[in-house]
């Protein structure tokens, strides 16, 4: 394939000297990014790198069909630039973030407001898009929600029951996870990466370790790559099962809700066989894994996995057999494929619009170069499709795990990392259970982080939830929300 010379190509999980990331004037850089996105590229990351009192823009574009990534940077700029969002809505949150972090103004941005920063006492004290009219009313929900879930604020503009517009104000979970990284890695960094989004520990920890390994010019031993892939699928199984159960609960279909609540725990306990922790803490360490899966443990895991897979298959069958469930899910919360592509959806939400997007398939790195999982896609874009994709992925991840556990590669599980390459840029994408986790690191002349950018799949997908609500009833919010089940902390960082 050919790309403009404004971009350098690189593969997932590799690094490039910073000097080889082409630098163009602002106008050329913007033009090149626009034309790559027009050709079907996807904006994986977009951020600023401070340079004195100016800022360089960095653009990471993914070409999924070509299995390659591309990176470019602008000359140092001050002030502002014409917003990409006007022509490419997938950039809208990235541009708000850039403005919030560096004060660079994306001129003409239709809705420029902070992403995470506090406005008065809380993010919800900011301005909201409002619909006017005598019949229009506003519904405000959160930051504290009715259930045991993370905080965020939802503001609905409604005409009667119908939702005309939903705006989502986040930032309540902001802990400074990304802000703390320049000058690192620090002693706590690995542990912070494991808790960027606690239900996606494998996703973020693997992306972080892959970035460090790429910067060190090496890879983790094969056995460690294998174990990471195994644990990543266990994480997917636990979360998808939990989501199926939660969706069942929201339509009062209790058999599947009860069963899946329990089976989700069974999957979490499988992860605990590996590392003692139900949320994968300690499995990934830069240079390999912190634990090995000895044959005895592996056969225990296999046995319990087979039982849990049978249970979840049964619970899902009850659910899909029920016309009352299907009727409640079909044609509710629809995001069309064209909308999904336009706003840059990733992961389950994208695949449920019929978009074939899966890092394990598009940008295979680590063990996924040797062991493939078929991509699960479903057209429709509604709650039904998102539940269906999860159900299919449970089957496929289960099959993958059964194959992998029977054929582990031999060898070391960990090897000490050489020092990081100075002045280099590394990119790692991992298909977490929600979708694409993207980590980009730029080192300084001493090999320490100069800039580190984390993009959780939720960052792309929250807009999808907002769109899904349009034209539905407020009472459909719970099932729409559960069908996306996005991370607040992964977004808020």
């Amino acid at each position: 394939m050919s790309t403009s010379t404004a971009f350098a190509l690189l593969a997932n999980g590799t690094c490039l000297p910073w000097s080889e990331v082409p630098e163009s004037s602002l106008a050329e850089f913007l033009q090149a990014t626009r034309s790559e996105l027009d050709r079907g590229g996807r904006l994986c990351s977009w951020f600023g790198v401070p340079d004195g009192d100016a800022v360089r823009l960095v653009s990471i574009v993914g070409f999924d069909a070509d299995n390659t990534l591309a990176a470019a940077r602008s000359a140092p700029i001050r002030g502002g630039y014409p917003a990409l969002t006007l022509t490419h809505p997938q950039a809208h949150l990235f541009e708000r973030e850039l403005w919030e972090q560096h004060g660079i103004v994306p001129e003409g941005h239709p809705w420029l407001k902070p992403v995470r920063r506090i406005a008065g006492d809380a993010p919800a004290n900011g301005e909201f898009f409002r619909v006017d009219g005598r019949e229009v009313h506003e519904v405000a929900v959160g930051p504290i929600h009715a259930g045991v879930i993370e905080p965020g604020h939802f503001r609905f503009q409604c005409a009667g029951e119908e939702v005309l517009h939903l705006e989502i104000a986040l930032g309540y979970q902001h802990r400074g996870a990304e802000r703390a990284l320049p000058g690192g890695p620090h002693r706590t960094t690995m542990f912070q990466m494991e808790t960027v989004a606690g239900d996606t520990t494998m996703g973020h920890a693997t992306a972080y370790a892959t970035v460090l390994e790429a910067l060190a010019g090496t890879e983790a031993p094969l056995r460690a790559q294998w174990l990471r892939a195994v644990a990543l699928e266990l994480e997917r199984l636990a979360n998808h099962t939990g989501d199926i159960g939660a969706l069942a609960g929201d339509v009062a279909f209790l058999p599947t809700m009860s069963a899946c609540g329990k089976i989700r725990g069974d999957f979490l306990n499988l992860t605990a066989i590996i590392c003692g922790n139900r949320f994968s803490r300690g499995i990934v360490r830069p240079g390999g894994c912190g634990y090995d899966l000895d044959p005895d443990r592996s056969s225990r895991l296999f046995e319990k996995l087979a039982a849990a897979l049978k249970d979840v298959e049964q619970a899902a069958t009850w659910f899909w057999d029920a016309a009352s469930v299907r009727g409640r899910f079909e044609n509710v919360g629809t995001v069309h494929a064209s909308q999904g592509a336009e706003i840059g959806l990733v992961g389950v939400a994208a695949r449920a619009c019929g978009l074939v997007r899966d890092v394990r398939f598009d940008h295979p790195t680590g063990w996924h170069r040797f062991g493939q999982v078929p991509v699960a896609v479903w057209p429709g874009g509604d709650v039904f499709a998102r539940a269906r994709v999860r159900s299919l992925e449970i089957q496929r991840s289960g099959q993958f795990l059964k194959e992998q556990l029977l054929a582990p590669p031999e060898g070391e599980i960990f090897s000490e990392l050489p020092p990081a390459t100075p002045d280099a840029l590394a990119v790692a994408l991992v298909e977490g259970w929600r979708g694409e986790v993207c980590h980009v690191a730029l080192t300084d002349s001493a090999g320490k982080f100069r800039r580190y950018k984390i993009t959780d799949p939720s960052f792309h997908n929250w807009t999808g939830l907002a769109l899904a609500l349009r034209g539905t009833a407020v009472s459909d919010f719970p099932i729409c929300n559960k069908s996306f089940n996005l991370s607040y902390c992964g977004h808020d960082l």
């Binding site: 993010p123 504290i144 259930g147 993370e150 905080p151 902001h174 058999p255 609540g261 989700r264 057999d321």
Partner: protein, 269 residues
């Protein structure tokens, strides 16, 4: 036929709720390790190797004395256990970790090798909450893992409601707050408002390293290093995240409903 099938399958699965606390608790995963124990008498050499090994600076040295480990900051990564050659820091495999006072999580001083398990509420509060405790969960600047394992107690395996404990939607219906997360500055107001809305008498339970001390994000200017900075905490449950068994133990211990189970465990040695 569908309804019949569903019922048959459901019946076949039988009762899936565990017998604990009327029988022995399910074992912790073997690599979990449980609560830590610091035996200062084995720390005579004073090598201090454990101090830099800890990611959250949970370990320090009492001047001229033994090391001190703060289980409220601990992520249970076991790095200190591996670093300690004389074996002064050890795993106990004990799931019981809830305490009433913050200082009860400090290990190391003579007589304080292990954490000091929580005492039950006073009689008046036990009378009020002992058989019916409604909690409003507030998630504030955490990672979602503590929330997940707080939630799991409501599933059929653990069935929290058999103890009369449940999570409610409104703080006005609650007897107390269960806080998870570091308490980000952006959640400070919401947490205060939730606390004010709970009618007195009321309690606060801090679950997880973040809610106790800030956990892996301790010291970040974006957070307030735990629930204690905003509301008075009555029960601390350490872990990252705490195992559901540890959380359940803490809740039941606070309500004074574990005396029989403790006796059973003591008998079993």
């Amino acid at each position: 036929m569908f309804v019949l099938d569903t019922l048959t399958h459901r019946l076949k699965r039988g009762c899936e709720t565990m017998a604990y606390p009327h029988a022995a608790p399910p074992p912790l995963p073997d690599r979990h390790g449980g609560a830590l124990r610091v035996d200062a008498s084995k720390c005579a050499g004073g090598c201090s190797d454990c101090i830099p090994a800890c990611p959250t600076q949970a370990i320090g040295r009492i001047p001229g004395g033994p090391i001190q480990l703060d289980l409220g900051r601990c992520l249970f990564c076991k790095a200190c256990v591996e670093a300690c050659e004389p074996g002064a820091i050890q795993q106990t495999n004990d799931h019981r970790m809830a305490v009433r006072k913050r200082e009860d999580l400090l290990l190391g001083a003579p007589g304080q090798e292990e954490l000091r398990l929580a005492a039950a509420l006073d009689e008046k509060l036990r009378k009020l909450f002992g058989r019916s405790l409604r909690l409003r969960q507030v998630s504030a600047g955490g990672c979602g893992a503590c929330e997940a394992d707080v939630n799991v107690l409501g599933t059929i395996g653990w069935d929290l409601s058999r103890f009369g404990i449940s999570y409610v939607a409104s703080p006005r219906h609650a007897d107390g707050l269960l806080v998870t997360g570091t308490v980000s500055r952006n959640m400070e107001l919401a947490l205060k408002k939730a606390w004010d809305a709970v009618p007195a008498p009321k309690i606060v339970i801090a679950v997880g390293a973040c809610a106790i001390s800030g956990g892996p994000f301790i010291g970040h200017p974006e957070i307030l290093n735990g629930a204690g900075s905003v509301v008075p905490v009555d029960l601390y449950i350490p872990g990252c995240p705490p195992h559901p068994l540890t959380i359940l133990d803490g809740l039941l211990r606070l309500l004074g409903r574990l005396e029989n189970s403790d006796r059973l465990m003591a008998k079993a040695g």
